[in-house]
Every structure is written in C-alpha cells, then in structure tokens.
C-alpha cells in the first residue's frame, strides 16, 4: 500500500463512519481490528455499536478533512466533525443544535484494511455546545 492508497482508505473510513455504512465497514476494517478509544479498547463489533450511539443521536453528520498525513503503514487525519442533535443523547433530549468539533483520527493499515484505530474528539467542546458543561474555558 502506498501513502496515497492509505489516505484514500482513511477518507472511505470517515465516509463510512458518518453514513453508518455497515457494508463499507466490513470491507475497511480487519477482522482483528482494535480501536483505542477514551473508554478503552474496542473490537470491530463494539466499535460499530459505539459509533452508532452518535449516528442515532445526530443527523446531517459530516467529516471535513483539514489535514491528511501518511507515513509507512499509518495515516492521520485532522478533521472537523459536524452533526445536528436530533435524538436523545446520554439522556439529553434533542436540542436541534448543530455541533461542530475538531477530531483527530489515526489508523494503521495492513493488507488494505484498517487494523488499528485511534481517535480524539473534542468532547468537552461538544458538551459545551450542547449546554451540558458550563462556560468555555480560557485559552491556555
């Protein structure tokens, strides 16, 4: 796999994530896929369930890729994630608010499939935009 192929795989992964495209996920994620999330490691099935929590609560989801860096078997994407809060999310009834947060996604690719995945979503900003957390923090 070249860096360009790995970048294209990352773009397809981001599209599958917001589209909740289970067929694409099966193609893109290796059977021994591991996602390193804030709550701990997830396998392919638990990762897809986790992804679905957001896809159920938000509509009009979109990843905008701001930067894409590839080297060897890894790709990193700096993105902006958008979604409109349209259904219950962690007990919060739909607010109709459009949320926009930054997210870093990193994937390791082997034999044309994603074998490892890391992500950092700015959940604090999401909570602030949803009104679940008080006033924005001062810049440090």
């Amino acid at each position: 796999m070249t860096s360009e192929q790995n970048k294209s795989l990352m773009r397809r992964f981001l599209e599958a994530s917001v589209a909740s495209d289970q067929t694409a996920f099966k193609e893109l994620l290796a059977s021994d896929f591991v996602a390193h999330l804030a709550g701990g490691p997830q396998n392919r099935e638990t990762f897809l369930q986790h992804n679905n929590v957001f896809n159920v609560a938000f509509i009009d989801r979109q990843f905008s890729v701001r930067d894409l860096i590839a080297e060897g078997d890894k790709v990193m994407a700096r993105t902006t994630w958008r979604g409109t809060h349209s259904a219950d999310f962690r007990g919060l009834p739909p607010t109709g608010k459009q949320i926009e947060i930054s997210a870093f996604i990193m994937d390791r690719i082997k034999d044309g499939k994603i074998v490892e995945h890391w992500s950092l979503f700015d959940m604090m900003s999401m909570m602030q935009q949803l009104g679940l957390f008080p006033a924005p923090q001062p810049a440090r």
């Binding site: 860096s3 999330l37 804030a38 709550g39 986790h50 992804n51 929590v53 957001f54 930067d67 860096i69 590839a70 080297e71 060897g72 890894k74 790709v75 990193m76 700096r78 962690r90 930054s102 870093f104 990193m106 890391w118 992500s119 950092l120 979503f121 700015d122 959940m123 604090m124 909570m127 957390f133 924005p136 923090q137 001062p138 810049a139 440090r140």
Partner: protein
C-alpha cells in the same frame, strides 16, 4: 529538512516543555509562529501559556507514542502525565493528583523551526480526573 529531522525538532520541543526551558522553546519556534489552540496564539503568547501550565502542574512528562511525518508536517501522538501541585487550575486548588491523558499535536516545520502547531488534548478527561466533571458515560 528530512522527515526524521522534523520529528526530532518536535521531540526537542516536548523535552524543552518538560524542562520548562523557555529559551530553548523560543529557539525552536519561528518568530512568526502561530499556535491554533482554542484561540490562535503568537510565539510569546504560546510561551506564556507553557510557563503558566508549568507553574500549575509539576513533573510534566510527554510520552511520545508515535510520530508520522510527511513533507513539512509532523503529527505526534503523546500521553501527557503531570501532577496538579503548584497552583489553582480553573478554580480547583492544587490537589497533588496525578493526571494522565492523550494528546495529538500537528506541527509544521520550516527551516528547522516550528511555524505552526495545532494541539488537541483530552481536556474533558483531564478535568474529570481533577474532579471538575462527573465520570464518563460513553465517550468516543
């Protein structure tokens, strides 16, 4: 500059941050440096932010888990560990608690100096560890 040289510059930046070596940090950042944090910061503002952080948290350690470089850009995946021991942070008095969290930084290097940084850390996770935010439900 090669990708490996650019990665080494970013590693030197993190070492100087740990050591609170502001002269070295200033040398590593270009005069027209910009950090895109919550608000954009110029070089002096960024150095001031680091001084403030090091005056609040002690024993800052950045464990660099991974670096990916392409062209003039370097992405670093790090784990930050530090102790809230020195001064209040967002109204919380120093507790002696050790906190730990993932961060990703994206640096652009030009002529051996960092011209741009974008950093995202798990701010929500760190505030939870400091006791400011209730425990997680389903972070992504």
């Amino acid at each position: 500059m090669t990708a490996e040289q650019n990665k080494a510059i970013v590693r030197r930046f993190y070492k100087a941050f740990e050591a609170n070596d502001l002269d070295m940090l200033k040398e590593l950042l270009a005069p027209d440096f910009v950090a895109y944090n919550l608000n954009p910061q110029n070089r002096d503002e960024h150095l001031q932010g680091i001084r403030l952080w090091n005056g609040t948290f002690s024993e800052n350690r950045f464990e660099i888990i991974d670096q990916i470089a392409e062209g003039d850009r370097v992405a670093s995946h790090v784990i930050l560990r530090c102790i809230h021991s020195e001064a209040p942070y967002q109204g919380i008095p120093p507790s002696g608690k050790q906190i730990e969290g993932p961060a990703v930084s994206l640096e652009q290097i030009k002529d051996g100096k960092i011209v741009e940084r974008r950093v995202y850390s798990d701010r929500l996770g760190m505030l939870r560890q400091l006791g400011l935010v209730p425990p997680p439900q389903a972070d992504r």
